[in-house]
Symmetry: C3
Subunit: 220 residues, 3 copies
């Protein structure tokens, strides 16, 4: 997974910097990025792309959004979901109640079973923290996939609590948890935009760099 | 906003100390406070006023509660809500799912764009922390107002997670987060009383003194 | 309560170690434990017992689960619930919205009014933290009992946020919060298995060792 992530870091870090809103005329993100590097303005600023689209483009976007397929998106991003672990205690990876799924806190476990550990601001840089949050997003998607069978069952990502193992002087938690938020929006599009808190913890299990909870809304 | 808050500090600190349950025969909080200072026992102890009302008074209260208007209350308290900021990343200020709105964590941003920063118990006093929590409540109300148009759409404040940027030895988080809870109940009355946790964080974004999340129930 | 807890520590610690899935032919947990110590394999490994039951046993289990009575379970465990405290501020012990109850954060208050305080990893051992989490579970059950009248109204424990007052170097939060999770599953059986995060806080009110929030689903 580490290798896989690295092979996709170009795509994902571009996504992080600019938000990968890809008009539907591009069949893949790579095609859109290629077009972008050729001077085509297909990528817009993060957090603003809905508002910044106008007229016909906005309508086209809406159609694109309705047809958004997170399973396809995962393939385009080159992400393979791991098998979620079975918790070794009296708790579970997620519980559904009505149309909501409350997911347990997950951390940056790599496919080889190792973890990204350390306090951000001391042992771990913001960039490494961002990568840890990204990896955590993949692990949460793996849980959702196992629970739902198909990520298209997700109608909205509702709430994220991003907990950063922080040196007491570290104050850039949002830049770390963006690794989670950016990947979630890369996969779910507009449905992926969520309410969030990104905060600093005294310590986390195993010394992991981040632990992140998520609440999602799913179809009936 | 700082100035505005100060001009209302008398009202708000009275509210904090005594809970402003105003029988409906007083047209404004100020009238009730005036009556109170004249020896009329219109204000009762915090956290107890529902239970402490009896018989006919309780019935009158119920009617008063049904007619409770948080928009009017804001005017009476002299609070003007700011325009909520647009998050600069892949998250939003709040997400509605069914009858619930999950609000993102907000902090003590003043109307001039500055923030109340520092660790409570070290750089920031309990009183300053209380003010920071109060300011955060106003910022959350601003988000709700922008989402709902009218705060009368709120049927119940459900849950508050009050996160205090804490020196490791600081143990009075509830006294800080009361600044949030007291203002919410001042605005929403009984509907504003919520389940809550008030806890100490290692650090928070920008070094803000508090960050507070909220879940509210709204009308269909 | 302290004494009461101690008198049940044998039962509870066995539950923690092995998960007390008791086939319905045993009338009490003690009977099952006796049978187990006689070589009968009535107890199975934690976190795996649903999956590990097969065929006819699984069906019997399902019937057993449907007939699971948390009120009876409390009696079998010898647990007497305290009267929940009335919060002395503008918040409440729990709020119901739809089929969900959001419970306020609670801590390890003993029946004599004293609290288990201190930072786990420094002043408090993992074992003492486990006991603190167990006591907190009892206090949350007391709130639920007061709100619902009958714990059989609980259809599922949905989510737990276990906050451990942690020395910055402490990384075994899950072992502490297991005290909560194990007791909840001992009382509610399969319905008690929840999504969870167990994390380290810089500090907590009064210096308590743990503070734990819970969301439960209840009947219409």
């Amino acid at each position: 997974m580490k290798r896989l992530l690295l092979s996709n870091l170009i795509l994902i870090s571009i996504a992080a910097a600019t938000t990968l809103k890809v008009p539907s005329r591009y069949s893949t993100i790579q095609a859109a990025i290629d077009a972008s590097s050729n001077g085509d303005t297909v990528l817009v600023a993060p957090g603003t792309y809905v508002e910044s689209y106008q007229g016909a483009s906005a309508q086209q976007d809406k159609r694109s959004e309705e047809g958004y397929d997170p399973e396809l998106r995962l393939k385009e991003l080159g992400i393979t979901l791991p098998i979620p672990p079975t918790p070794v205690a009296n708790y579970v990876n997620g519980v559904r109640t009505g149309n909501l799924i409350f997911l347990a806190g997950k951390g940056p476990k790599r496919a080889d079973g190792s973890w990204i550990i350390g306090k951000v601001g001391a042992d771990v840089t913001i960039e490494q923290g961002y990568e840890a949050a990204q990896l955590t997003a993949i692990n949460q998607l793996a849980v959702l996939k196992a629970m739902l069978g198909d990520l298209n069952q997700v109608t909205r990502v509702v709430k994220v609590l991003g907990m950063v193992n922080s040196d007491p002087s570290f104050t850039d938690q949002p830049k770390v948890i963006n690794g989670f938020s950016d990947l979630i929006v890369a996969v779910f599009g507009e449905r992926g935009r969520h309410a969030r808190a990104a905060v600093g913890m005294a310590s986390l299990p195993r010394g992991i760099a981040v632990e992140i909870e998520m609440i999602v809304e799913v179809r009936n």
